[in-house]
Symmetry: C2
Subunit: 107 residues, 2 copies
């Protein structure tokens, strides 16, 4: 299982997710064409294919083979846990700055 955060790090991969959000279940060539015409991304087909591999490894894209076509579907479930990792509103501990923060005041 790949790293979801690393998969999101590349701007081209995010554009792919945007594209699949607008129109789910696209083929590789379809994604290439739409990235080129709508986002000025002129990467080769292989580059996009490798990006899709990374997204699939991260669980963000699920591929479905059908004949000679391979349709790519978005799966947003890995994204749900991301923001919650730091956005959980538990009142977190504060650091007593004004004391003497000698590296670790309280051990």
């Amino acid at each position: 299982m790949g790293d979801v955060y690393q998969a999101l790090a590349d701007p081209t991969r995010r554009k792919i997710l945007d594209e699949l959000t607008e129109r789910d279940g696209q083929t590789l060539f379809e994604i290439c064409a739409r990235l080129a015409t709508r986002h000025q991304i002129t990467s080769s087909r292989q580059a996009i294919s490798q990006h899709l591999d990374v997204l699939a490894a991260a669980g963000l894209v699920v591929a479905r083979r059908q004949g000679r076509y391979k349709f790519h579907h978005l799966d947003t479930r890995p994204l749900q846990s991301i923001a919650e990792r730091w956005l959980r509103p538990e009142p977190r501990q504060e650091n007593p700055h004004e004391d003497q923060p000698d590296q670790r005041p309280g051990g």
Copy 2:
């Protein structure tokens, strides 16, 4: 302004965010010590400092100088827009797979 996604790509930087979530307003040395003892991260002080620079450039960390100390505070606002980018529950368009997806069926 740096890239929030790229800032989250590095696992050490995510650990720093975890650390600041638990205890906000830590100094550089304090973060180094806690990363070493609690997360087995033995990177040098400079490495952590550069990580904090990246996080600050992405707006995820705000530094506050006070005397010879520099306290780092978490700012989760840049995170809120991340998940919503693809998690907005608008019913997105489906691709008519079973037709003839000749790259782009509808031009």
